[in-house]
Symmetry: C2
Subunit: 500 residues, 2 copies
């Protein structure tokens, strides 16, 4: 084999994998947005075949030979190609450890689990979802044992979403958050409460949808390459490359903020994905590098920018245009206070910034216990409810508003949740860095996201997966990750807001 020829084959391999990825992601997106109710088994059939083909492509003799050859010549490769080989070679070595039939069967289980989860959530019926969730946890444990027999199975899961993350690091990180947030929450609880009356009312879905598009445009999202759909649980997905990204939201007719901040959150993910350098399209370097970095962007736009006084000042007149009657008697400051009201509550995606990480910690503790074999899946609802009582002081009325609320587990995303908290904390430190060269508040007050997006593009987005997440962060920050940027930010903002 010659090097040039091998590089050409590497390109073709990645293009094929991207095409299979496009098809599978679109089938999933269709299932979540548009597909008729009775079609999950049909999608499962197709997905199991496509994932098998994709698996064979990834682990076939030809591919192994190609990557072994290229790995042996890595010193002669340019940086991008070398990184592609590194990522693919790591993946392939892992995939080879998983028997193909198990891998393919798991893809089909996930489709059926997603369907069962939707019904279970709708009908408050955990028992319906339980057997699927048992299979999912069991499979994740089995795959962890195949791929990393010397590692704790939950560490294997955590590392999938944020390279190098471990239970030890999580425990330390969550410990820091807990020590600062629990007293803050207590002080807020004792203070004069703010009112969120102005964002509650009747906001028809098609009006909210129009406002969603305004938000996306304001954020500087390229609408020629990014679409908006409606799903039970909001998410972002790329189809084939960063040239086609879709975000989804879920409208709550009684609460204007619910979808608004889902759209800004998913819009943050979309900006990251859309702005990979064009040279990365149809390679494994396209798109976000880890879920921690991804959530640092989504939670950055949602909270650090979206829930700021400066941004609310800019967007409030546009909200009034869409919801003239509903917002007739309130001010931008009313909305600012309403969307930042702190209340220990039931639903993670609608939680305020201060209590948010406690929701994540509940999931982290439960996943850790199930993956360690200390807790059975069937006992998750009771354990969930007990932790919500302990951490947030709330009584969970039913599983729909409890253990069934998130879509992550039904999609196999065990180990994902800590990324949300970690990303939130990365974001606060990134904002401090950005402020050294960008007048963020002035930009937000003018609704001008261009300088903010340019900074993120230059430092984060355009790199795709070229750098490892730790390296990317170190290069941007110029120092170690420090979660106290995040706790300081929260203390300062909420001390002022609640007059503590």
């Amino acid at each position: 084999m010659e090097l040039n020829q091998a590089c050409e084959q590497l390109r073709e391999l990645q293009e094929k994998l991207s095409a299979f990825g496009h098809a599978m992601a679109l089938i999933y997106f269709d299932g979540a947005t548009t597909a008729p109710k009775g079609t999950a088994a049909n999608r499962g059939q197709t997905l199991s075949i496509l994932s098998r083909e994709s698996y064979l492509l990834s682990t076939g003799e030809q591919t192994v030979a190609l990557l072994t050859y290229l790995d042996g010549h890595k010193d002669e490769l340019d940086a991008k190609t070398a990184r592609q080989v590194e990522i693919l070679y790591k993946d392939i070595k892992e995939m080879q450890k998983i028997p193909m039939e198990e891998y393919v069967a798991y893809q089909q289980v996930l489709v059926e689990a997603d369907d069962a989860w939707h019904t279970a959530k709708e009908t408050n019926d955990f028992a319906l979802f339980c057997p699927y969730l048992e299979q999912i946890f069991a499979t994740e444990r089995r795959f962890a044992a195949y791929c990393a027999p010397d590692m704790h199975p939950y560490n294997y899961c955590l590392d999938k979403y944020e390279e190098g993350l471990t239970m030890e690091k999580c425990d330390e990180f969550f410990g820091t958050l807990r020590s600062r947030l629990v007293p803050l929450i207590a002080k807020i609880g004792a203070a004069q409460q703010v009112s969120d009356a102005c964002i509650l009312g009747d906001f028809p879905e098609h009006e909210q949808e129009k406002f969603s598009l305004t938000l996306m445009q304001t954020m500087g999202i390229d609408m020629a390459h990014c679409g908006l759909g409606t799903t039970e649980h909001p998410f972002t997905t790329s189809l084939g490359s960063h040239h086609d990204v879709r975000i989804t939201t879920n409208y709550d007719r009684g609460n204007l903020a619910s979808s608004m901040f889902s759209v800004i959150h998913e819009g943050g993910h979309a900006l990251y994905d859309l702005n990979s350098d064009d040279s990365l399209a149809y390679t494994v370097l396209d798109g976000g590098v880890s879920m921690g970095i991804h959530e640092s962007q989504s939670r950055f736009y949602e909270n650090l920018l979206g829930r700021s006084r400066a941004f609310v000042g800019y967007i409030f007149p546009k909200m009034q245009e869409c919801f003239k009657a509903q917002l007739a008697n309130c001010t931008a400051e009313d909305v600012y206070r309403a969307i930042n009201k702190v209340t220990p509550s039931l639903i993670r995606t609608e939680a305020d910034e201060v209590t948010y990480c406690l929701h994540v910690m509940v999931r982290y503790e439960l996943e850790k216990k199930v993956m360690s074999g200390e807790l059975e899946v069937k006992d998750l609802p009771a354990a969930w409810n007990a932790l919500y009582k302990e951490y947030l002081g709330v009584d969970v009325p039913d599983d729909t508003h409890g253990v069934l609320q998130d879509s992550h587990w039904s999609g196999g995303g065990i180990g994902y949740f800590p990324s949300y908290a970690l990303g939130s904390a990365y974001g606060a430190q990134l904002l401090a860095k950005m402020r050294e060269s960008v007048d963020v508040d002035a930009c937000l007050a003018a609704g001008d996201f261009a300088p903010i997006n340019a900074w993120n593009r230059a430092h984060i987005w355009r790199h795709g997966c070229q750098k490892k997440p730790g390296q990317l962060l170190a290069d941007v920050l110029g120092c170690d990750f420090d979660p106290t940027y995040y706790t300081d930010y929260l203390e300062k903002k909420y001390t002022e807001l609640y007059g503590l």
Copy 2:
């Protein structure tokens, strides 16, 4: 190879082809319904790769060996398997004649052509679409020369949509229609005109959408396996198998009948596809057997049932529920007359039953000329406008309402159009047969489609592609196809309606 093992491989092959088909059809459906505007090239990239993989699967050495073996043992196969081998072997022999690179390149051209057509139609810019259409016609001619060098290239195209159809048969069929319809249209033109005022007005899209769902339910469409989307041009597609079918429509806010009859038309296609026998799923026998038979079902529901006095009598109160204010001052008979108003017009999909086939004849004559090399693609707009003047007596104001109106050519569907006329005529003869055992008018008046659907399921739908279209029709009718059933039906209905 053993026979059992070969049959198992045949099943796997068809399942894989179905999975690729699912992915590609969904990418097309997404492009037409939901995808952001700037994503066509990205879809083209993925489709070219998937179609290449699908091509390799269909024509690879293994597949050829398998089908050659099975063809050699066809006497030992059950009827279904034998028919699967027959269809696949015919396809493969044809595909082998087309160079893979040309086949794959054509798939990408079609994606880009679809995008160009949308823009061209929107902006009334034939010049933008012309180079794509030139490529499409040139490719169809080239493929015809590869696959059937002894056949007229347009006969090759016609045969793709209706096995055995030729220009000779078309000329005879259209001649019969012309000789009966032209005098009828002239008589109607001289008679007292009917008013269509009651279906014109302001019908908001989301109200029309609700009514569309009512129509689908009334028709007995299984909504758990059939979805409704909105597109520039209505169509029906199956995803992977008959377990997931999508129809689309296009709403004209000023005209209630426009989308209504698109929904019933596409609903007829959907009923046919949805009701293949379950044993046919994930095989090449799943779904409709030819476009002629397919259109016999869609135009059956749209016109023979949907535009009947009995059905309008049933559906009118439901229309009034959706459009209370707009339909306050009219009767079912007003609506019946309005939706059957005969006027030579510009748009095929909105044409009345009597002039409809003239629209098809225009396309047939033009396709024949371009495929014969007698007419250049760049001269199509002028030729189109001249034929509309000659056949329908109307002046085409612009290409958006002329040569750019249909999506078929941009999708490579040269030779498709005659199926519409042929299907309409099949339908009239099928209705006469159905009336021998089903009281169709009583069913329609009661909104009870079950007996009608049961007849179609038993005689047509459940068979999928097990019988050839000619055989299917002969078995149902018990006699030869006779287009005078259709012309008799039209003469009788419109003589009464217009008091001729």
